[in-house]
């Protein structure tokens, strides 16, 4: 696990924040905003929700900074707060959502039915890529929050199993099991949808 060095300027900013100096948070916002935008966007998948969520994460981190003990790097600690915040957001969103497959447009249904394997030209391949992306997006949207978090970190953020384990405070073997289950459920959901039509 990456630990924070106390002589690091970042650690000094954090110490100032812990003493109540709110201005010291500005450089940390500048440093981490893009990373958080990327993580949050990949986890929630909706552009219009990203900025507000990132702002909420920074506020949460600022208010919780007193509890940061320099055991991990500030970046890792902040990412953990972001993941938990997104997880809660996804759970709330999932609870209030109607069925997913009704959200797939008729056009894309036909396109998916047509299949992508037989396409050969560059244009057709591009079209197939877009369809696959839309399909993956919809299945991720439909996935349980825990699955969505782990799939986003692995497949979209391209983090290693060890990095995910560090972020989620889990054993790498647990991450592997959860990842496998999430993939299996996603694929089962896809089968279920295809059979249901």
């Amino acid at each position: 696990m990456e630990t924070a060095r106390q002589d690091d300027p970042e650690a000094q900013w954090v110490q100032r924040i812990q003493r109540g100096d709110g201005e010291a948070f500005a450089p940390l916002v500048e440093r981490y905003q893009r990373r958080l935008f990327s993580l949050v966007y990949r986890m929630v998948g909706r552009r219009e929700e990203v900025e507000e969520l990132v702002q909420e994460i920074f506020v949460k981190a600022f208010l919780a900074a007193g509890g940061y003990n320099f055991e991990s790097s500030f970046g890792t600690w902040l990412m953990r707060i972001a993941i938990n915040h997104c997880y809660d957001h996804l759970r709330r969103r999932r609870a209030s959502r109607v069925t997913y497959f009704s959200e797939i447009s008729e056009e894309s249904e036909h396109a998916l039915e047509a299949g992508v394997e037989s396409r050969t030209t560059a244009g057709e391949r591009l079209e197939a890529d877009l369809e696959n992306r839309e399909l993956a997006e919809k299945l991720l949207e439909r996935a349980p929050a825990q699955d969505r978090v782990i799939l986003s970190l692995k497949e979209l953020e391209d983090l290693s199993v060890e990095e995910i384990a560090d972020l989620l405070k889990l054993k790498p073997s647990t991450v592997k099991v959860r990842l496998h289950r999430a993939r299996k459920r996603m694929l089962a959901d896809y089968h279920h949808w295809r059979q249901g039509r």
Binding site: G22, E23, F25, A26, V29, E30, Q33, R34, F37, S38, Y41, R42, G45, R47, V50, E51, V54, Q55, F58, V59, F62, L63, V116, E117, D129, L130, E131, N132, R133, E134, L135, A136, E137, L139, L140, L151, E155, L156, E157, D158, H180, R183, K184, M186, L187, Y190, H191
Partner: protein
């Protein structure tokens, strides 16, 4: 290789072994399974390549401003809990104790008076009993006759 094992390998990271490829070429159901997973994975890779939204102009300064508001609200919350909240808790505790004292303590006290409802319930019998001679004092010097004075006899 069994189908279950083959499907487990399909979902794992890394390349496919010759044994798995052999199974996939012999088992159409597992081949479809593998193809669909490849398709979903390719879709997720496509999602990963999408442009990330950029912070809007002045985002960092807005965050710092909202931090000041949040810490102000938190301080106000702490003040409320510290002063007003504590007084409220004390007042509620006192009220509960008083209520407890009023409702529970008199019932267990030796100086408790008879409840009004019990007194009312006893009263008509007492009045009726006063009509018997033994209670009214008329039979004190005579033979005992246990019958109401104002009765038919």
């Amino acid at each position: 290789m069994r189908c279950r094992q083959a499907r487990q390998f399909v979902l794992e990271d890394g390349g496919r072994s010759a044994r798995l490829e052999e199974h996939l070429s012999a088992c159409p159901a597992c081949a479809i399974y593998a193809r669909e997973w490849t398709r979903l994975r390719s879709g997720m890779r496509g999602l990963a390549l999408q442009a990330i939204p950029e912070p809007s102009l002045g985002f960092a300064s807005r965050v710092v401003r909202s931090l000041q508001e949040a810490s102000g609200a938190e301080r106000a919350g702490e003040f409320f809990l510290e002063r007003v909240g504590r007084r409220f808790v004390y007042a509620a505790l006192l009220a509960t104790l008083l209520l407890f004292g009023v409702l529970v303590v008199p019932r267990s006290s030796p100086v408790r008076s008879a409840p009004v409802a019990v007194a009312n319930a006893v009263q008509p019998e007492t009045i009726a009993a006063q009509n018997y001679p033994i209670y009214s004092g008329q039979l004190m010097d005579t033979d005992f006759e246990f019958a109401p004075q104002s009765g038919s006899r």
